[in-house]
Assembly symmetry: C2
Homo-oligomer: 301 residues x 2
């Protein structure tokens, strides 16, 4: 088989979607694998991607030379860091073609079909991204844990654990709610258990708690409502910085976008619209050369 293949990757800090398409754009298969955020995994992200591709290729009995025919379109969290992206490119296998961008760029391509528009990714981390014209982009947030990622899963989980810790050491007793009891159930009832949970905890471990917070917020828990309300205001601030005049369409993507929607400020709910397609479709545009390489307009000071 000599026809071109497209391997499309949407990689985050908690998991990665890898899809394989044939040369007509028909999806051969899709698999979900571990994190490929460059900040979390570095060049080891390749192991994850190539293992997934191997699995997908086996399912359709491709020949052993498939890499030479494969055109990669890869969007990864952490690819906005030049040095991380260059190391990843240097570790690439020999393939048909390779295009690498941020996960935010492929999400924006997918959400707006390559036309000007903005996205905010709310997953383990958070970042705001706007395509201003073909290939010219604006990036807000995305600084990563622990300073940034406002409104993200890791950020929401950290607020909840912070409060749980204060309860365990007596600083927060008057405000204990069911949310806190549920968090302590997961992180440990004693100082030693919680310290063990915290030791070297990656952002994804905090993000694992975000669905718990959202669930309790939906049930009216006052502490949970406070946290998701604050997350909504942070996401609104990202949106504001992306497009103060609200002149382009905006979509929220990522695993927490839908669960958080009821808790976003009303003006943001009114502005946000469903993405046209998933980020992986943006990765296909990239792989097929239908999208220009990403050129981020770095904000001057």
């Amino acid at each position: 088989m000599d026809a071109r293949l497209y391997c499309c990757v949407d990689g985050g800090a908690s998991n990665t979607r890898v899809a394989l398409y044939d040369d007509t754009g028909h999806r051969i298969g899709l698999t979900v694998t571990g994190p490929t955020s460059l900040t979390v995994r570095g060049t080891e992200a390749w192991d994850e991607i190539l293992a997934a591709l191997e699995t997908l290729s086996r399912a359709v009995s491709l020949d052993g030379e498939y890499l030479a025919h494969t055109h990669f379109g890869i969007g990864l969290a952490g690819a906005n860091n030049n040095s991380q992206r260059e190391k990843f490119l240097a570790a690439a296998p020999s393939a048909g073609a390779l295009r690498v961008s941020t996960d935010a760029y492929i999400a924006a391509l997918g959400a707006h079909g390559g036309t000007p528009g903005a996205v905010i990714i709310v997953g383990t981390g958070s970042v705001g991204y706007r395509i201003e014209a073909a290939g010219r982009c604006r990036l807000v947030g995305g600084w990563g844990f622990p300073i940034g990622d406002e409104g993200s899963g890791a950020w929401i989980g950290r607020q909840a654990v912070d409060q749980a810790a204060r309860i365990l050491d007596t600083r927060y007793r008057s405000s204990v709610t069911d949310l806190h009891r549920a968090i302590i159930e997961r992180t440990g009832h004693s100082r030693d258990e919680l310290l063990g949970w915290l030791l070297g905890a990656p952002p994804a471990r905090f993000a694992d708690l975000a669905p718990v917070v959202v669930e309790f917020a939906a049930a009216g828990d006052i502490a949970a409502l406070d946290i998701v309300g604050e997350a909504g205001r942070e996401i609104d601030a990202l949106a504001d910085a992306l497009d103060p005049g609200r002149s382009v369409p905006l979509s929220l993507v990522g695993g927490l976008a839908e669960p958080l929607r009821p808790f976003l400020p009303e003006r943001l709910q009114r502005w946000a619209r469903e993405p046209r397609e998933e980020p992986i479709s943006g990765a296909l545009m990239l792989a097929q050369g239908r999208a220009p390489e990403e050129t981020i307009m770095w904000q001057g000071r």
Copy 2:
């Protein structure tokens, strides 16, 4: 030389003071070395301690067998975690005697001569500690970066870097002050430089910026004043949880205690008093067996 020696250690996340005393309690020497926080260094903390002891012993021409005569009194950040403390004890060299406690315990012993009293350590991290009666203690805070350490150097530095990042990505332009320009000078003017600075940054890297914030607060910078004011309220909350009735004496210790003093809430300034002696003197009490082993009263829920 067969007489007993006392090796006293006050170990934090940024640096460590190691002092050697003879059997009459006379200080032979003191040296400052790298971090020995168990959370940061684990059992490698021993390398730091033993190298410092070797230096101190050479300065006074002790014989090669000095370890057998050495009684250790060691207070370390992170020793409140049972599993970390046990690993450290298991890696100990054969010595005359060995007593290990938290850095907070030796600070409280030093500050109040072993009598009931409270301390708050404000260094790279923060923790509140109270000796209620001989050997019975209460611990508040001390959860470590990134959830806790409120009011500490790492916490102060993180607030400043957080604001700088928001300025670089346009979210915070209206509130730029000289503090932010000074922080950006140190962390980098571009997204890539700041991302590089942030990548794997240990708490101490954030804490390095705290003196800059304090300096600008002293000069009236409004953003800096906001940050140190909030730090002061967090430290006051630790004090409140330690001793709601303000019934025992309280001392603030650690590298940021003195610089932050002018920015603490007034009622905390009135309550706080100078420590009687330094933490290293508390470590000597421990080494000499003049203090009971630390028994922390874990707060029930």
